[in-house]
């Protein structure tokens, strides 16, 4: 693509500093600037805002099914007003419940925590922090967003079709998901789900290709690999994981589409549905699980690694200390990236997997504890005796570390194939992955939004609202998910609509009510965050200096509102690693400053 729009910005040398909206050199139309933009910063914002819309939808769905779980006997007539037959008599119907659970999972895992998190921050930060004018291919980058948008439209439309959205769970296991006869949610809703996911995979791949080649090929002078901020390393490994694992999910989804629509039996064998004997023979439902989890496990690191990278950066900047163990951080990211591909069968311990094979996967799974512990140790030692500034971003980063520890420890339980026999498919699993992957990554994302908001919009977010947001979310997250561990240990299965049939589970009735009430409060506070976000874009306190946090990385050497091309004139040269905080009596030394003759070594 021989687009040279941003080429012109390179020709702008020494323009006056005080013009606010990009380069006045060539006027861009509204459409090319905000809609079909090829500027990585705008694309990042598009990912963020689309992700926020999805987070609200996905979060609202969880509130709805929490209402059912907390108050299974009560009727909410208002639900019937809004959802009609799906909540007949003010009661959430079973089909609707499964649709809600499925869409909640899919949307939050893929659309919010993959596209909304790495899509946003990889786009925003990679060119700015490695010192590039834009991505390797701005055009592919734009396509990446628009494929995501298309996936979003298809997924959203599936909620409104007559037979309802896909309802086979976010893992979409066959044979349930492969058979139209199996229920309303398995009709057109599942096809739309599969097509939306295919579009989503294309979007992720286009994005990932760009992130990798930008990081490897377009770093500015002096920016060697080991001088890159940890955010960039994390984004790099995230992209590698995505590029290698998403295609495998795509192949699994294609086989599923064939089974659904063309009569093949890749996943189907010897099935009776509603008394009807199906002709399919020779298929294997386990095959799908292998293909799915070969992506599915790396996917949890695709979600988590960007959060880890941003937390490392934010903790170092705000404790005014170098990151502890930079190389160990790199090594552990690398180890996690490799191990991510070798543990997928721990999702399948109870599928009849050979126990000897299972024990290999147990060993590999527990090995992940090593790099994870290294990272936690390094975050804590970075904070240790730091001169900590408790900005909202710092608080969320510390919250991330807390959640990562609590959620990581329960992973050791689940990683054991023997304990997993008792715990699999219970609320314990729900508690584990929500804390360690869901909420922790959300905290990383919030930290990132609060920290880089001044770079994105040239204004600050409101701190009072931000502190309220943090404390309510932090306390709420533990109140919601901690009790679920006990429910799971007691044997309560996940995905169940109503467990009042089991007398032994009745003891948890009040606990479920409490969880529901807290989740409504937490959801309301997230809406407050959204308000704060949009309000601050227009009315927030203006940023007056280029480097409001006193950070070393390159993005703070650009103008307050950088135009397309990022730097006026030359791209700055890099002379040192990004973590020279509190060195030789100086609070911080930006990466662009040459190493002095008398400087001590780090």
């Amino acid at each position: 693509m021989s687009e040279v729009t941003h080429g012109q910005s390179g020709a702008v040398v020494a323009m006056p500093v005080h013009h606010e909206h990009g380069h006045g050199h060539h006027e861009q139309s509204f459409i090319s600037k905000y809609i079909f933009s090829m500027d990585h910063k705008t694309i990042g914002k598009q990912f963020l805002i689309t992700g926020m819309v999805w987070a609200i939808i996905g979060g609202l769905f969880s509130v709805l099914f929490r209402l059912q779980l907390g108050y299974p006997d009560q009727t909410f007539p208002i639900l019937e007003t809004f959802f009609g037959k799906w909540a007949a008599g003010g009661h959430i119907q079973p089909e609707f419940y499964y649709g809600l659970v499925t869409i909640h999972g899919t949307v939050l895992v893929f659309f919010v925590l993959t596209a909304g998190l790495s899509g946003t921050f990889a786009n925003l930060l990679i060119p700015l922090q490695v010192g590039a004018r834009d991505m390797a291919s701005p055009f592919l980058n734009m396509l990446s967003y628009w494929f995501f948008f298309l996936a979003s439209v298809i997924m959203l439309s599936s909620i409104f079709v007559h037979t309802g959205p896909a309802s086979g769970g976010w893992t979409m296991y066959p044979p349930l998901s492969a058979l139209r006869q199996a229920g309303d949610g398995q009709k057109i809703g599942t096809d739309l789900w599969l097509i939306a996911m295919a579009m989503f995979i294309v979007s992720s791949l286009l994005g990932g290709l760009n992130y990798i080649s930008t990081i490897l090929n377009m770093r500015t002078k002096g920016m060697s690999m080991t001088r890159m901020p940890l955010t960039i390393w994390a984004m790099f490994f995230t992209a590698v994981l995505g590029v290698l694992s998403f295609p495998v999910l795509l192949s699994g989804a294609i086989l599923l589409l064939f089974d659904r629509n063309l009569g093949t039996s890749f996943y189907l064998s010897d099935i009776v549905v509603n008394g009807e004997i199906l002709p399919n023979e020779g298929g294997s439902a386990i095959l799908y699980q292998h293909l799915f989890w070969f992506l599915g496990h790396p996917e949890v690191y695709i979600i988590l690694l960007p959060a880890m990278g941003m937390v490392s950066e934010i903790l170092s900047v705000n404790s005014r200390k170098p990151i502890f163990g930079y190389m160990a951080m790199l090594g552990s990211l690398f180890a996690i990236c490799i191990l991510a591909f070798l543990v997928w069968a721990h999702h399948m311990f109870v599928t009849g997997l050979n126990p000897f094979l299972g024990s290999v996967f147990v060993l590999l799974t527990l090995l992940i504890a090593v790099p994870s512990a290294i990272k936690v140790f390094n975050w804590l030692t970075t904070l240790w005796r730091g001169n900590i500034r408790f900005t909202p971003a710092t608080l969320f980063a510390i919250g991330f570390v807390s959640l990562f520890i609590s959620g990581g420890l329960t992973g050791i339980f689940l990683g054991n194939s023997t304990i997993d026999i008792h715990l699999h498919d219970t609320m314990f699993v729900v508690a584990h992955f929500h804390i360690v992957m869901g909420v922790a990554s959300f905290f990383g994302m919030f930290a990132g939004v609060y920290h880089w908001f001044p770079k994105m919009f040239g204004r600050y977010m409101n701190n009072t609202l931000a502190y309220m947001h943090f404390w309510v979310t932090m306390v709420g997250a533990y109140l919601i998910f901690w009790p679920m561990h006990y429910q799971g240990l007691a044997g309560i299965p996940r995905r169940y609509l109503d467990k009042s049939g089991w007398v032994s589970f009745n003891q948890f009735g009040d606990l479920d009510k409490m969880i529901t009430v807290v989740s409504i409060i937490v959801f309301a506070v997230q809406l407050m965050f959204v308000f704060n976000f949009f309000y601050s874009i227009f009315k927030g306190r203006k940023v007056t200096t280029r480097n409001p946090w006193g950070a070393n990385t390159l993005e703070w050497t650009t103008e307050i509102n950088p135009g397309h091309g990022n730097w006026e004139g030359e791209i700055p040269e890099v002379h040192r690693w990004p973590y020279d905080y509190g060195k030789d009596g100086r609070e911080y030394i930006p990466q662009t400053e040459p190493v002095g003759a008398n400087e001590s070594k780090h």
Partner: protein, 190 residues
């Protein structure tokens, strides 16, 4: 893009690098499918097939087209535009012939009662060869765009990078086909 190339004289061009990563990604997809094939082939009720002979013809066609695009790249570098256009067009035509031959091969199999029913080598063949053909069709579309530009001749920059990227991709889908064919001969079981 001019900035990109100015900035990075010594290194591999970012677009070429992006293509290499993309090829890794495509390899992962076919690796997923062929390993599914291997897993399934060890289970009960597996049905093998005989490969139609026409796939050998299509192999020859795609190999020749690879030579064509390589020659076309060379003529582009030597600034022989007429020859470049001609060879590029030949590549595209051979690509279309390849897809047509695959289609004939599918029909031959279908005529032997190997339909979508079941989950043996035949069904995998339709999926795997079909997806490969889609990658070829993607290449044909790119070739058509490139050919259109070559005839319009409106490009301001004379850069061989797009042609090199195209040629690399074309060789890749060619090699991918050879791999798939060999895979089906060995693992598919005649």
């Amino acid at each position: 893009m001019d900035i990109v190339s100015k900035q990075q004289k010594k290194k591999i061009h970012p677009h070429k690098f992006t293509l290499w990563v993309a090829m890794g990604s495509i390899i992962m997809m076919f690796a997923g499918l062929t390993s599914a094939f291997i897993v399934k082939s060890n289970q009960a009720g597996w049905k093998t097939i005989g490969l139609p002979k026409i796939f050998w013809v299509s192999t020859a066609v795609i190999l020749i087209s690879s030579i064509m695009i390589q020659l076309s790249l060379r003529s582009f570098k030597n600034r022989e535009m007429t020859r470049y256009r001609l060879l590029l067009a030949a590549t595209m035509v051979l690509g279309i012939v390849f897809v047509a031959l695959q289609w004939i091969g599918f029909n031959e199999l279908w005529a032997q009662q190997i339909t979508f029913k079941g989950s043996g080598a035949g069904q995998f063949l339709y999926v795997i060869f079909g997806l490969h053909a889609i990658h070829i069709i993607g290449g044909i579309v790119a070739l058509a765009v490139m050919l259109f530009k070559a005839y319009r001749g409106s490009s301001k920059l004379y850069s061989s990078v797009p042609v090199e990227v195209m040629a690399t991709y074309w060789h890749f889908v060619d090699l991918l086909w050879v791999y798939l064919l060999v895979f089906f001969i060995i693992a598919g079981g005649q």
